[in-house]
């Protein structure tokens, strides 16, 4: 038992207690939480900071406004409903198209047909706070449904794969691609059964995957190998993520990005308590990278510089770091 703890310590694995006490409580002042917990506010701040985000179709924040839902989605084939204060992907419904057979019915990313009334009930639940972290009143966002890049088609079962980047004091220190599976119902959330694939920070290439707590080489539904995919716009993704410090003022934050077929990388949401499974996906601990950033931290670095330093510092497999100018090229 102690041997196992020692091995994790040597690998620089960050535990939940350490994450809570040393990173979240020290670097994430509670007064800034609404900036990430309230997705309406996040979207506004991100737009101001120059991040690309999915277009907002409408917000429903009163039970009385639930009936406006039909009006908001009128003429739209696909959209996403999500609670403004939800966490961990709970309460999110992805609508990919309207049902061709039944009127006022929609098809979810998982292929289930839902009626307008059912969606309105779901929105009503959201507004009454069922998915809210505080349990209080909430709002439902209806926004653009990302048309995902065919790059990940082979390793996704419906839904939209997304890219989670952990940003420590403004430096992106670790990343993974989250791939929806049949059991995750098209959602890119690891605890709902999605596969996480580690990413080489220097190249943007995927590494092996993790399902639950186990390492997997292939996608469980499609059977396609997970490793070796190159994420496009990798520089832009890292630079956008690095801006999370300026947007949220949180020192330890998870940034979720998606790649739209037409619009490129979009920032979906941010998380002040990002999970730790990303370490399994990358096969390496966060604590070591946190310590490295503390060594080289420079408050004068701008987001672009910070992204470049991360690419240089955190090459996969702890292989010899690439020369800085080679990365820039």
């Amino acid at each position: 038992m102690l041997g196992a703890a020692k091995r994790l310590r040597n690998a620089g694995v960050l535990g939940l207690n350490e994450r809570n006490a040393e990173l979240i409580m020290r670097l994430n002042p509670r007064r800034f939480y609404p900036r990430v917990d309230d997705k309406v506010l996040t979207k506004k701040l991100a737009i101001d900071a120059g991040m690309a985000v999915p277009q907002l179709f409408g917000v429903i924040d009163h039970q009385g406004d639930v009936s406006k839902f039909a009006q908001i989605v009128d003429g739209r084939e696909s959209f996403v409903i999500k609670p403004a204060q939800g966490s961990g992907g709970d309460g999110i419904i992805v609508i990919v198209s309207r049902s061709k057979r039944r009127r006022d019915s929609f098809r979810t990313a998982g292929g289930v047909i839902v009626s307008e009334a059912e969606l309105e009930h779901h929105i009503s639940n959201i507004v009454s706070g069922q998915y809210s972290l505080s349990g209080g009143k909430d709002a439902a966002l209806i926004e653009y449904c990302v048309q995902f890049d065919p790059l990940f088609e082979q390793v996704s079962y419906q839904g939209v794969p997304d890219i989670r980047v952990i940003v420590y004091r403004g430096y992106p220190i670790m990343a993974m691609v989250r791939l929806p599976t049949r059991s995750s119902d098209g959602k890119a959330n690891l605890h709902q059964g999605a596969v996480g694939a580690g990413v080489d920070m220097s190249t943007g290439m995927t590494l092996k995957g993790v399902l639950g707590i186990d390492v997997v080489e292939e996608h469980p539904d499609t059977g396609a190998p997970i490793a070796g995919l190159r994420i496009p716009h990798w520089d832009f993704i890292l630079q956008s993520s690095a801006r999370a410090l300026e947007v949220t003022e949180l020192g330890y934050v998870g940034v979720d990005m998606v790649i739209d077929r037409n619009l490129g990388p979009l920032m979906l949401e941010m998380n002040a308590r990002p999970g730790l499974n990303i370490q399994i996906a990358n096969g390496v601990g966060l604590a070591g990278r946190v310590a490295r950033i503390d060594e080289i931290y420079n408050s004068a670095d701008d987001p672009v510089t910070r992204a470049r330093i991360s690419r240089h510092e955190f090459a996969a497999e702890r292989q010899e770091s690439l020369p800085l100018d080679e990365v820039a090229a």
């Binding site: 196992a4 694995v13 207690n17 350490e18 006490a21 039970q63 059991s183 390492v215 399994i280």
Partner: protein, 464 residues
């Protein structure tokens, strides 16, 4: 920085808690164990004499049943002597006999007694005393005193108390002065009281006793006054001893700022409340050190409290039964698409009705434990059902069952910890020990090591 503050604070709390505990335990003598061993006393008499040649018969008055004490054992150590116990004249007598002996003889008699509040006397009822012959002028003085005391008392016990109060008055009247004039020693005093009591036709006698104290090697018997009030013997210490005893009681109440000074009803409530920090400590350990998933922060502790009412086995059965039934009804309600708060209220009402059904059914089946389910916190169960059903929908039955079983496991551990009698007694007698619990919780609050379950979770990393 914060970490060192935490250690300093924890050290202060530990020091204060430990010092208070040690002071109460060692100085004030609070019992550490619930079933404090009742003090047992070994009382030994030694009879030593030089006998001439010939046969010897030694008689020793030995304690009969004394109110407030029980006899554990008694035996005699004597060489060559025959030993027997006789009942004679309302008391017991040890008798040693030997046909032929010469020189110095040593006889031991040893009795082991223990404090037993329930022990009442007595085996013998003495006859009504014949009024003793008292000569004038003492006779008139006694008559006046007896008349006065009789006016102010109702029965033999109160008569004796009043008599002792009057004769112990620091400024006695002339009658009492006359009566006490001849009493030089305390045995004379007790003898005189016996005479007065017999004059009032109350059976009384002087006995000699020992005031039991710790670590006494040699003691002289103290004369006591014993009366028989018709039902039982009562012993009265002599005047000095009564006063000392009073002082003792007064002094001990000064220190009595413990929970024991509260009414019994409040005490029993506190004995439960004071165990909640122990449950909270278990919760902290299970969540932050072991890493078990559970609903809510302190819900398992509240479930554990509910188990106290039902006992563990039936508590688990009832909890699982109610949550399972409630869950299925919650899924039925789901189809009605109710808003959150009305849905929670509906679940609560259904839980109340289910409980009622369980109670009635179990009563009809002759199981009494079902009745105590009424004390199960209904709101806790309703919340458990709601959280579990949301988790069930969002993350699937696996996660929901895991968190449900986790809550139950934490609740069982908390119940076992909170149900330890010795711990309950210790915390109740020494509430300052909770400062130590607080210190532990504060230190654990800065525990940044891995949780036990994380060792398995991250096992894929660092294995080269």
């Amino acid at each position: 920085m914060t970490k060192s503050y935490v250690w300093v604070l924890a050290a202060i709390l530990t020091a204060v808690g430990t010092l208070m505990f040690l002071y109460k335990w060692l100085v004030l003598g609070f019992p550490v164990y619930e079933r404090q061993e009742i003090p047992a006393w070994t009382v030994e008499t030694t009879i030593r004499f030089d006998s001439g040649p010939g046969s010897i018969k030694v008689n020793l008055q030995i304690p009969n049943l004394t109110p407030g004490f029980g006899k554990l054992d008694h035996y005699s150590v004597s060489k060559n002597f025959g030993f027997g116990v006789n009942y004679a004249g309302g008391g017991r007598e040890a008798e040693w006999t030997v046909r032929r002996a010469d020189g110095e003889q040593t006889l031991f008699y040893r009795i082991v007694v223990y404090e037993d509040k329930g022990s009442q006397q007595s085996d013998t009822t003495p006859p009504f005393p014949i009024p003793p012959l008292i000569n004038e002028p003492l006779r008139t003085a006694v008559e006046v005193l007896v008349a006065e005391v009789r006016d102010h008392s109702a029965d033999p016990a109160s008569f004796t108390a009043e008599l002792l109060r009057l004769v112990n008055n620091p400024s006695p009247n002339s009658n009492i002065e006359l009566i006490l004039a001849g009493a030089q020693s305390s045995s004379d005093f007790v003898q005189m009281m016996t005479t007065i009591l017999e004059f009032a036709r109350i059976p009384a006698r002087m006995i000699r006793g020992l005031v039991l104290q710790e670590q006494q090697r040699e003691m002289m018997p103290v004369p006591w006054l014993e009366i028989h009030d018709g039902a039982a013997q009562k012993n009265y210490l002599d005047a000095m001893a009564i006063a000392e005893k009073r002082a003792d009681i007064a002094q001990s109440t000064l220190f009595d700022f413990s929970l024991y000074s509260l009414p019994i009803q409040t005490q029993s409530v506190y004995s439960v409340i004071l165990m909640m920090p122990i449950g909270a400590l278990v919760m902290v350990l299970m969540r932050n050190v072991v890493g078990i998933d559970a609903f809510g922060t302190f819900m398992p502790v509240l479930i554990a409290l509910a188990f106290r009412e039902t006992q563990l086995f039936w508590g688990i059965v009832l909890f699982v039964l109610l949550v399972a039934m409630g869950l299925s009804i919650r899924f039925l309600l789901e189809r009605l698409r109710l808003l959150l708060v009305p849905r929670l209220a509906s679940v609560l009402i259904v839980v109340v009705l289910l409980m009622m059904l369980v109670s009635i059914l179990s009563h009809k089946l002759g199981m009494e434990t079902g009745l105590s389910v009424a004390l199960f916190p209904m709101v806790i169960i309703a919340m458990t059902i709601e959280r579990m059903s949301v988790l069930w929908e969002e993350r699937g039955p696996g996660d929901a069952m895991r968190a449900g079983i986790g809550s139950l496991v934490v609740a069982i551990v908390a119940y076992l910890a909170m149900g330890m009698d010795w711990l309950e007694h210790l915390v109740f007698a020494f509430p300052e020990l909770l400062l130590l619990v607080l210190a532990i919780v504060i230190i654990l609050g800065r525990y940044t090591g891995y949780r036990f379950t994380e060792l398995g979770r991250f096992k894929a990393i660092g294995r080269d």
